[in-house]
């Protein structure tokens, strides 16, 4: 099978580019720790309200951990609990969320927080809120008639 010289150059360039892309995302994920949310913790979906930390949704200051706050959300059709929180500017926050019924999305518009909430699983993502302002949380996975009404708000304040 013959391959034209130009095609070899083209493919070498293309595959080289792919290797660079993969290396970039790979190093970022596994060396710098920017992995996509992949929490492996499970939970009994019928006992979410009784299970820690989901028995107390909201923002909690924590000590002795790599992050300053834990921000706990419980999603259900068609709302998030809490509906609104204030986060101090510059706080390193671990967002912890789960769902009590169907699959929901958890996207904080304008940030990199974007994860699926699936029944029986806990989703987590740690981030630093370093820009003041209002951040809208929307459900971005179809969950039923009120899907587009499901939202919450994070206010990052000095």
């Amino acid at each position: 099978m013959h391959m034209h010289k130009f095609e070899k150059i083209w493919l070498a360039f293309g595959i080289g580019a792919l290797v660079v892309f993969l290396t970039t995302v790979g190093v970022s994920a596994f060396y710098l720790g920017n992995k996509p949310p992949s929490c492996l913790t499970t939970i009994n979906v019928d006992k979410v309200d009784q299970t820690k930390p989901f028995d107390k949704p909201g923002l909690h200051k924590v000590e002795g951990k790599d992050w300053d706050y834990e921000l706990v959300y419980v999603a259900s059709a068609f709302s998030y609990n809490p509906v609104k929180v204030e986060v101090p500017l510059g706080a390193k926050v671990k967002v912890i969320a789960t769902t009590k019924d169907v699959v929901h999305g958890f996207e904080v518009a304008g940030t990199n927080i974007n994860m699926m909430l699936e029944p029986g699983y806990v989703s987590e993502y740690t981030t630093t809120f370093d820009k003041a302002g209002e951040y809208l949380i929307v459900c971005n996975e179809y969950c039923g008639a009120g899907h587009h009404l499901m939202s919450s708000m994070i206010e990052v304040k000095k």
């Binding site: 493919l11 596994f30 996509p36 996207e107 809208l136 971005n140 939202s151």
Partner: protein, 555 residues
């Protein structure tokens, strides 16, 4: 001389009938699904509401099922069935019977699913994620569509196998080879969706079991969900590789490399479903990244395809005396809808493919996952590159099958249609991409999100989508007019089924390409490698199952 002989080769009229049956279903789906798409963009502009209690998510389900499953599957099966018939000398009676049986099973399944959606018993979108629980008839209907497609597709495989037996030691006709690769990939991929429907969703919706394992179901779905998009794309590649060169008067750049790229698609389009699940809990990030690497492998055959196509164009242009670096571009037959329409699709694949690389880039997906950026992405890939190529195929295939001619007027209307489509899509898909980067979610009706400032910034983009959607709907009307003309009213005549030949006829394709044991073996090994351990992990660590929910609005 050989040229004048090949132009006369016709698809057997009995095969033509079956292909046309597929196309009637496909274009009906296009008309209805397109109307639903228009209504969605209007609702989301915030300026208009659906009448008579029709629900946004109901029409979204109709749009997704009709465009993503019905239009594509019926068109592809009809086209590939004709392509195999044309290049092997026709299907046997047994193969034809198999084709018809598959066609009817798919149609019955489609009608079952459609009925449940209309009754608001299945507003679960075409991804039908558990634990949303649709009516069991919806799931059974989808099972029929999948099983019907296997029986339908087996017609192509039977005819290919017969040709191989009658022509030992010969590489099979390129179009037949490509059609069979796509059908085989489809069968392997649909095993996943068939498994979740048959073993999880059907028993659960019938009440035989109480709960469903959500992550297993989603993983099986996405095992199917990504090769699905390659199942749409490969028939377009068949046209670009093996038909377009003939239309412009050129040659296939390399028959062997075309086959190699299709084999790479067979191997690498399946073990990549996790890149749709990058932001999901319960899946180990290392396995996600492994499937991201495999996803990037599937870009290589697309790079090969791009090279081959432009090499064909350039060589043809230079043979017509074009000079300079880009002189060849001008001499391409821009007045021929059979070329120009797929070419616009081809060109759209450049930004579409680049967007796809972003989506698959592991944690970068967090920026765009489930935002309307993704909707914008697949309206470039599927709804522009693939669909415009399908339209371009129809302009010669429909009259070829019905014994008519593509008239000058219809040719011109076809080119206008493609530009209308391109402009409409530039508005709609462009606005979707930008809104997605600002965080606008997909699959959502109009909402102000309680007067949130960020949501207010999305509204202008949603209005632009409605403008684009309206222009696209005009494009659909034009397409339906052309289809009806070519099927029923165009003047009688002999429209050519163009099949290109390779530039270098001395170089036969290596027979190893037809070694199915080898390729199926590697495909299976890759799938097992990418899925076995994470799948066992998912099952072993699974939480208690979910009961069903029906959270959508009912009649």
């Amino acid at each position: 001389m050989t040229n004048s002989i090949t132009t006369k080769v016709k698809v057997d009229p009995r095969d033509a009938k079956l292909s046309m049956a597929h196309f009637f279903v496909a274009f009906s789906a296009l008309a209805l699904g397109g109307l639903m798409g228009l209504l969605q963009t209007l609702v989301r502009s915030g300026k208009w509401e659906l009448p008579w209690g029709i629900d946004y998510y109901q029409i979204l389900t109709v749009h997704g099922v009709l465009m993503g499953l019905v239009l594509t599957t019926f068109f592809i099966m009809g086209f590939q069935y004709a392509a195999v018939s044309r290049t092997t000398g026709g299907h046997s009676i047994a193969a034809r019977r198999s084709g018809w049986i598959g066609f009817w099973i798919m149609l019955v399944g489609t009608l079952m699913a459609a009925t449940m959606v209309l009754l608001k018993e299945a507003s679960v979108l075409y991804t039908f994620y558990a634990p949303l629980k649709a009516h069991w008839i919806f799931y059974l209907g989808l099972t029929f569509v999948v099983i019907g497609s296997w029986i339908d597709g087996s017609a192509q495989i039977m005819t290919y196998a017969k040709w191989r037996k009658n022509n030992p030691g010969q590489p099979s006709p390129l179009l037949s080879f490509m059609a069979v690769i796509n059908t085989v990939m489809w069968i392997i991929a649909t095993l996943g969706v068939a498994a979740t429907v048959l073993f999880q969703l059907l028993p659960w919706s019938l009440g035989l079991v109480d709960t469903v394992d959500v992550l297993v179901s989603r993983t099986l779905f996405w095992y199917f969900g990504h090769p699905l998009v390659y199942f749409w794309l490969l028939p377009a590649y068949m046209c670009w590789y093996a038909i377009i060169p003939k239309i412009i008067g050129g040659k296939i750049f390399s028959d062997s490399l075309a086959r190699l790229s299709f084999i790479l698609f067979l191997l690498f389009s399946i073990p990549v479903g996790f890149h749709h699940q990058l932001t999901e809990p319960g899946i180990d990030p290392a396995w996600k990244f492994l499937q991201v690497i495999l996803t990037f492998m599937v870009i290589i055959p697309s790079l090969m395809t791009a090279f081959s196509l432009f090499a064909t164009f350039e060589r043809y242009g230079r043979s017509k005396g074009a000079t300079g670096l880009f002189g060849w571009f001008k001499v391409l037959p821009w007045n021929d809808a059979r070329f120009t329409v797929p070419f616009i699709g081809m060109a759209s694949f450049i930004p579409a493919g680049a967007g796809g690389i972003i989506n698959a880039s592991n944690q970068m997906d967090q920026v765009v996952h489930n935002t309307i950026w993704v909707t914008g992405h697949f309206h470039l890939t599927a709804a522009t590159s693939v669909v415009l190529t399908f339209f371009g195929i129809s302009y010669w295939l429909v009259p070829h099958l019905t014994g008519r001619k593509l008239t000058k007027a219809m040719n011109k209307l076809g080119i206008i249609q493609a530009w209308v489509w391109f402009i409409g899509m530039a508005f709609m898909s462009g606005a979707m991409h930008f809104q997605g980067l600002l965080g606008g979610p997909r699959r959502s009706a109009f909402s102000t999100y309680g007067g949130a400032k960020q949501a207010a910034e999305w509204v202008p983009y949603q209005i632009a989508q409605a403008v684009g959607g309206t222009i696209l709907f005009l494009g659909i009307i034009l397409m339906i007019i052309i289809f009806i003309n070519l099927a029923f009213f165009a003047p009688k005549g002999d429209e050519e089924f163009p099949v290109a030949v390779a530039e270098n006829l001395e170089e036969k394709a290596p027979m190893v390409f037809e070694n199915w044991k080898l390729w199926l073996g590697i495909a299976a090994a890759l799938i097992l490698f990418a899925y076995t351990i994470p799948f066992i992990d998912i099952i072993q660590n699974s939480p208690p199952g979910s009961k069903g929910f029906q959270t959508w609005s009912k009649w």
